[in-house]
């Protein structure tokens, strides 16, 4: 028995020390920054290196004025954060300003928990024309800006320029068509004597939606939800078929490699690209950091490919926007908007692009020395920004304003997977159509939107 008694006292002592260490530390932090500033709690989902970059933005804002203090708090993945935001609304822990990802826009809008940033834009006569129109249109509804785009990316096509040079292959044009890419992929596969696979397209619903946007086709009715809540989805349309047939053609000629779906597929695909196993792949422009840092090969970037007989309509953005919660007092909401305005300043956006790979949204950012230096060093890093700037916002390339997008993407990916594995394209798309529509009908009925 004495054995246990001996253990109890040190255990209590250790615990006590730990408690003092933990709480004592947080108490001292609290008392240190009490300057009568209005606290603006900011929830975000930027992990890893992007979190460091984001904290620099917040520090910059806190130093730029003395009235407000933004407190950034990481909340997990985009999907997890949405639930936390919705479930904690109206409690003392809820955020004043939060980051919510692209496909949750309809959900946020319908929740009624947010104050449209348009209200503040009108109050301040804030000039939004400097901000990329494609990015703005994604988070707007019926002419009203609901949220302000923040971290923004677009899918682009990356190719291994060194390999193309080695095998004497003409690189694809900056806005390639499907057959341009097929040509390069096939040549690469043949000329390398089957050592390098030509291309890959990850099984990712986002890419399928982007192929439609770039072909100026709409997935959901009511103009992809921009003129009313969508009631019907038609994924089985000629443009999707053309996109999948393009992939099928490359699978048949052997130059295509399938990395599957999910987060590990993305990582494997990048590993394959960096180690010269595959020459071309499509990925978010935000991946550029990973592909330029210590990459011994020269990197080539083009716009998202478009159908052969059509002009590129431009792709929609991905990423996330900043929203203002309406459960906080007026002065807190005002502070949240001041912070949003700060994040959109040309220099802030330029630095953000440089350190994360997300695109600078302010047109004046291109004139800053930060981006000019970056482009001088890596000329190819200019391409994603150009793609964003050349696109003109219309209903097809402003995203799909529809609830249940997470499940829709899964169903799209099942269809893609079926086709990659040799299934019938029309049949796979019909199945996806049916399941997405069933889900949509149910969701609309459950929410009472009919």
């Amino acid at each position: 028995m004495s054995k246990y008694k001996k253990l109890v006292i040190p255990l209590i002592a250790v615990l006590g020390i730990l408690l003092v260490a933990v709480f004592g530390h947080s108490l001292s932090v609290k008392s240190a920054d009490n300057h009568n500033r209005i606290p603006i709690v900011f929830w975000h989902e930027m992990g890893g290196p992007s979190e460091d970059a984001l904290e620099k933005v917040v520090d910059g804002f806190n130093k730029s004025q003395t009235k407000y203090k933004v407190i950034p708090k990481y909340q997990g993945t985009y999907d997890e954060a949405i639930q936390k935001i919705l479930q904690t609304h109206n409690t003392s822990t809820s955020p004043a300003v939060f980051q919510a990802f692209d496909i949750s826009t309809a959900q946020m809008l319908h929740s009624g928990y947010t104050t449209p940033v348009q209200n503040f834009i009108d109050e301040d006569n804030y000039d939004v024309s400097k901000i990329s129109s494609v990015a703005r249109a994604f988070y707007a509804n019926k002419g009203k800006q609901q949220a302000m785009p923040f971290n923004t990316s677009q899918p682009v096509l990356y190719y291994n320029a060194s390999l193309l040079k080695k095998y004497n292959i003409t690189p694809p044009p900056v806005s390639p068509s499907y057959s341009d890419i097929t040509r390069v992929a096939k040549e690469l596969y043949e000329k390398s004597h089957h050592k390098v696979k030509g291309m890959t397209v990850q099984v990712y619903g986002w890419f399928l939606e982007q192929a439609l946007a770039n072909a100026n086709a709409q997935l959901a009715n009511n103009n992809d939800g921009h003129t009313g809540n969508p009631t019907k989805v038609s994924i089985n349309n000629p443009d999707t078929v053309e996109f999948l047939e393009w992939i099928r053609e490359n699978i048949k000629s052997g130059d295509f490699i399938d990395y599957g779906s999910g987060a590990s597929a993305g990582a494997n695909q990048t590993a394959g690209f960096l180690s010269d196993k595959v020459g071309i792949f499509i990925q978010s422009s935000a991946s550029i950091g990973q592909l330029t840092k210590n990459n011994k090969n020269e990197l080539g970037i083009t716009y998202f490919p478009h159908p052969d007989n059509k002009k590129a309509n431009g792709v929609a953005i991905g990423g996330a926007a900043l929203w203002i919660s309406n459960d906080k007092p007026k002065d807190v909401q005002r502070g949240a908007f001041e912070f949003i305005k700060y994040t959109l300043k040309p220099e802030v956006q330029a630095q953000w692009q440089k350190s994360t790979g997300y695109l600078a949204l302010n047109k004046d950012s291109q004139k800053t020395s930060i981006l000019k230096d970056l482009y001088a060093k890596n000329p190819e890093s200019k391409v994603p920004g150009q793609q964003l700037a050349t696109a003109k916002a219309n209903y097809s390339n402003s995203g799909i304003l529809m609830e249940g997008m997470q499940l829709t993407r899964q169903l799209e990916e099942i269809a893609m997977e079926t086709v990659y594995n040799g299934g019938n394209i029309k049949k796979a798309l019909d199945t996806a159509d049916k399941n997405i529509n069933d889900n949509l009908t149910q969701l609309n009925r459950a929410n009472g939107y009919n």
Binding site: M1, L15, L18, L19, A21, V22, S26, W43, E45, M46, G47, G48, P49, S50, E51, D52, K73, Y74, Q75, G76, T77, Y78, E80, Q83, K84, Q87, T88, T91, S92, T93, S153, A267, T270, A271, G272, L274, S275, S284, A286, S287, G289, Q290, K293, N294, G318, G319, T356, G357, Y358
Partner: protein, 276 residues
């Protein structure tokens, strides 16, 4: 004779060969994980596993650039308190179910067991609403209070306490020990193995929690380690895989220590004599 020996030796050899192969298959992912934590991120991204650029840089980065120490401390405090509380409350309720005679004992015990049929995930919505109303969100309390006791722990200890020879109870009654003395001096030491098993189980369970802390904590001050590991990873942009792998290795170490200690006690407990 010699032939039989050879056969036995061959059999032994094959047995060990099989065991070694199985051990390699099971341990390989673990060792690959530890190995990659010493490699630079670029080599990991390229899949270049046999790189020779090994260093402790990733570990230095994990400790200096991220709040991982704070998360370790949070988790250690929460897991330890949860473990101690579960040991106390579960053993006490198990004692009541075994050694005290009261009305509806079986019914109450059945009610206890029924709660085990609902997985925790199914109770998340009411639990979340409760802690939200109590104003416990984003606090140590929200990570401890719901786990102060567990039906499984009570069930496990009850089964173990029932093995305690009734002679011990009779002898202590003759000696004039009261319930608490009997519980503390005889039942607990006698069931040391089960107690340590439950302790290790609840500590590891608490250490590896992801869903509940993810939902109920909002700031670095109360974040637990598994969620912290997720935080080191960014969604779309560049990831420092080497540093993430090093952090994962750091996080695994305490759980391995707990397992080793548990195993040591488990062995010594087996060898100790009981009544007869």
């Amino acid at each position: 004779m010699t032939q039989i020996d050879e056969r036995a030796a061959l059999k032994k050899f094959l047995n060990y060969l099989l065991l070694i192969v199985l051990a390699i298959i099971i341990l390989a992912p673990f060792f690959i994980g530890i190995w990659t934590s010493f490699l630079p991120t670029m080599d990991i991204a390229k899949g270049n596993l046999f790189s020779t650029n090994i260093s402790f840089d990733n570990y230095v980065a994990a400790f200096t650039k991220t709040p991982i120490l704070r998360y370790l401390l949070n988790t250690l405090v929460i897991s330890t308190i949860t473990m101690i509380a579960q040991l106390i409350f579960c053993s006490m309720s198990a004692y009541a179910f075994v050694f005290l005679k009261f009305k509806y004992r079986k019914t109450i015990f059945t009610l206890f067991l029924i709660t085990m049929m609902l997985p925790f995930e199914a109770e998340i919505i009411p639990n979340f609403a409760t802690v939200k109303q109590m104003g416990l969100l984003d606090n140590y309390a929200v990570l401890i209070v719901p786990f102060l006791t567990s039906a499984f722990g009570t069930f496990m200890l009850r089964q173990s306490f029932m093995q305690t020879p009734i002679e011990l109870k009779e002898a202590s009654d003759i000696e004039g020990l009261n319930h608490f003395q009997f519980y503390w001096n005889i039942v607990l030491p006698y069931n040391k193995i089960s107690m340590i098993t439950l302790g290790a189980y609840s500590f590891l369970g608490s250490w590896n929690q992801y869903l509940w802390p993810m939902l109920t904590t909002f700031s670095n001050n109360s974040r637990m380690i598994q969620n912290g590991l997720k935080q080191l990873q960014s969604e779309e942009t560049f990831n420092d895989w080497g540093m993430i792998q090093a952090s994962a290795a750091i996080i695994v170490i305490p759980t391995i220590i707990v397992l080793f200690i548990g195993q040591h006690y488990f062995k010594s407990g087996m060898n100790e004599g009981a009544v007869k």
